[in-house]
Amino acid sequence: MFRLKNRNFKLFIFNNFFILTFTLIACTFPNNDQGNNLVIYSGRSESIVDEIIKDFTEETGIQVDVRYANSTELANTIILEGNNSPADLFFSQDPINLEKVAEQNLFTQLPNEIMQRSLNSNYQFNNYWIPTSIRVRTLGYNSTSTQQEELPIDLYELINPKYKNKIGLAPTNSSFITMVSCMIYFDGEEKTNTWLKNIHDQGYIEYPNNSTQINAIDNDEIKFGLVNHYYTLRYKSENQTSNVKNYYFKSGCGSLVMPSGIGVLKTSKNQENATIFIEFLLNSNTQELITNNLFEFPVIDIVNQNNQLPEINSFLNLEPNQWLELSKLQTKAVELISKAGY
């Protein structure tokens, strides 16, 4: 009986300690006043955006809250949220998802003076969103274990049995879905479907995203990975001894040029600060950071592209209306990917 009492007593002390700690923390917890913070839904990953955001807050004093997720998920979320969206800005990996939001008439139009800062005059996109950097689809490989002649001419050569179990891909990644949408647009549903089925049936390795694929290529888990170009270059800059490399297909959706961009939501109560953020992304310091540290192509002409980056003009570069067409094919692309068994 004494034992029991003793135990209850200990429990009592433990529990009171628990209450006390809570009260203390509750009192010291700062009021989470999110009303004035700029809310960004970012499809671009934290490792890329975080540094830029920190610089931005330091320079402007504007506090930022970022919700990181897949670009497709965020675009769908914004559409679902409609008028109740807490987001001020949508920062997306690719135009498809921006166009999807634009089509629902959820973006506010950006002033011309801002649009003109971005180099690529063909990207006007009705002023709904603005490109902030350019990326290219590519094939990552390991240059020590792979000979030049082993490299495929285009995406469709990957269904050759010699690539069996050697390819990595991230079927739920927005950029991959964009590439498949591009294939449907240019090569037709049937050809794309056959490609997806063949790759699936001959054997591939699934990854959650691009950076894990590059890791796997370096570790010889896979020989090739369908990725965006900058993941390889960034990995190489962090792991100097690594021999991962980019192979740019001569033509087709395998080397699709994908601007990453940002737009301000109509429902935003922070329009002014949101515009300041876009201007910040387009200033020369940020653009230099984007190309020198993050290995993407800059979008303003006073900043030169990183010398490790290839000449971009030969790659598949879409017009704004083509991006709109692609955004309509996104659901089809997802359906084909799922049907093929990924």
């Binding site: 009592f12 433990f14 529990n15 809570f22 970022v66």
Partner: protein, 522 residues
């Protein structure tokens, strides 16, 4: 005694609020306009069903073998250090599944840590642990302690006279096991099989990190691609209903009550083992403890050491620690206050209606968090946009799945006390309020408090609901671990994992084993 109206309506209100996510998803699914057959064809229904089912069955079998064998050995044979062995075997339950998966995925990638070590023995590459095998190993290693806890409790309560009698009648060892021991363990085995099955069915973290597509992972994938798609609704509803059924059976079985209410262990004569058998037994325990406890810890510390060498950014986890502790403490506290009226109603006023409410509430504990999260996200956007992405909604979602822990613990502490206390109190002319204050509350207080501590611990480890419902910019340790893991940043993930374990491991262990320790001897 008749239950006061306000108490009764309060309870009905709480229960209705808590099960609203289930109904919402169900009704949305009824509205799906697509033809069901077409749906099954497009979304690979059968393969998914088979994959999920085979993982559940596989993990249940392995964890039953591990848990049952160790509990039988420890309770029936004389083994030196059995107390320590038992503690070490139970300890792996402090690992959330995603941390377990993280350690195995990072250690056994084709050219990962294990290969660094194995090069000394001439091995340069291994095929890697992921997919079905990876999920099977990780989930089995971190769920068998539940089987062990449950079976050990029951076995220690059974005397072994029958076993002795059977032996003296000349029954063989095999027969003894299949005819005498197993039948008596039927209930705890079914109970723990259901518990483990439910755990696997709702697990999201481990299968995501292991890249194995079960229902939970696929729901999240479809959610990412097409948020309000048919697949999200249909699969969530399917998963929710299946687990509701399993959880209902499990939480309300006789064993559930017995385990929470186990009495003192019988005096069992333990048998000696010869040297060879003792050696085999120790080897077995060493292997199990190594793979389920020592290896994951070693891997975490290896990554931590790596991180410290290359300059770990402590600022990176600061926000996560703060966020985790904040939401968990709030949820734990609220659980305490909300559990009181419910538990009082269930103990002080016994009616059939109350019994149904109690059963429903206890069932909520086993529900897959991802489906509750998705449902609440939709509900908030559609009906109460103010609560969308708010702390209030996040904490409400935690309470739905974790409050049953507080109530369960409160109930357990009252099983030993008979109705006569309440009768005596009313004979003495105490008012109902005074009865509550003088009799019922002191009876349930400590139970609910330790239950609330369990709620705190469960919340701190929670992943999928936090992922879906968190306010923008808000972080917890679990979120950090998950996003670092899928990005392949193992050093950062390990650092957050170690902090999470440092906060939660010891209290989790103490609270999970409190039934064991209340017995005189192990």
């Amino acid at each position: 005694m008749k239950i006061p109206k306000f108490l009764s309506s309060l309870n009905v209100f709480i229960v209705v609020a808590f099960i609203s996510p289930i109904f919402y998803l169900f009704f949305e699914t009824l509205n799906i306009n697509n033809n069901l057959l077409q749906f099954i064809e497009i979304w690979d229904f059968y393969e998914l069903f088979f994959k999920t089912f085979s993982l559940v069955v596989g993990v249940v079998i392995i964890s039953l073998i591990l848990g049952l064998s160790s509990s039988l050995i420890i309770s029936r044979f004389k083994i030196k250090g059995s107390k320590i062995i038992l503690a070490l075997l139970i300890l792996p339950l402090v690992f959330p599944s995603y941390i377990g998966a993280l350690t195995y995925a990072s250690a056994f990638s084709p050219k990962g840590l294990a290969v660094n070590f194995l090069t000394n023995f001439g091995i340069r590459e291994i095929s890697g642990i992921s997919g079905y095998i990876g999920s099977l190993i990780v989930l089995s290693l971190f769920t068998y302690p539940y089987v062990l806890l449950i079976c050990f409790n029951t076995i220690s309560n059974l005397d072994n006279n029958i076993e002795e009698a059977a032996k003296s009648l000349g029954s063989s060892k095999v027969k003894l096991f299949t005819r005498v021991i197993l039948p008596r363990l039927k209930q705890p085995i079914t109970y723990s099989a259901l518990l483990v099955g439910l755990y696997v069915l709702s697990d999201f973290g481990a299968v995501s990190i292991m890249k194995y597509s079960t229902l939970t992972k696929v729901i999240y994938t479809y959610y990412e691609i097409d948020i309000t798609g048919d697949a999200v609704y249909l699969y969530s509803t399917l998963l929710l209903l299946t687990s509701f059924l399993l959880s209902f059976i499990q939480r309300n079985s006789d064993v559930s009550n017995q385990i929470q209410n186990s009495s003192r262990s019988k005096n069992i004569k333990k048998k000696e083992l010869n040297k060879f058998k003792l050696f085999i037994t120790y080897t077995y325990f060493v292997l199990v403890v190594f793979f389920s406890l020592i290896l994951p810890i070693l891997v975490l510390f290896y990554w931590l050491k790596n991180g410290l060498n290359s300059g770990l950014n402590i600022e990176l986890v600061y926000k996560g620690i703060f966020g985790s502790i904040f939401v968990s403490l709030t949820t734990g506290m609220l659980a305490f206050f909300i559990a009181i009226p419910i538990t009082v109603a269930f103990t002080q006023y016994k009616s059939n209606f109350n019994k149904i409410l109690e059963k429903i509430i206890l069932t909520l504990y086993g529900l897959p968090h991802i489906t509750i999260g998705i449902s609440l996200l939709f509900i908030s956007l559609k009906f109460v946009p103010r609560l969308y992405q708010s702390f209030t909604l996040l904490i409400f979602s935690y309470l739905i799945v974790f409050l049953p822990q507080a109530i369960g613990a409160g109930r357990a502490s009252t099983y030993q006390i008979s109705n006569s206390f309440l009768e005596a109190s009313s004979v003495l002319g105490f008012s109902r309020l005074k009865t509550f204050y003088k009799v019922t509350f002191p009876m349930i207080r400590n139970g609910i408090l330790s239950g609330s501590a369990l709620v705190f611990l469960s919340t701190i480890k929670e992943l999928p609901q936090t992922l879906l419902l968190r306010p923008t910019g808000f972080k917890t340790l679990a979120i950090d671990i998950w996003s670092f893991s899928i990005e392949g940043q193992f050093t950062d993930a390990a650092f957050s994992s170690i902090i999470l374990l440092a906060i939660s491991a010891i209290p989790t262990y103490i609270l999970s084993t409190r039934n064991l320790r209340s017995k005189n001897d192990i």
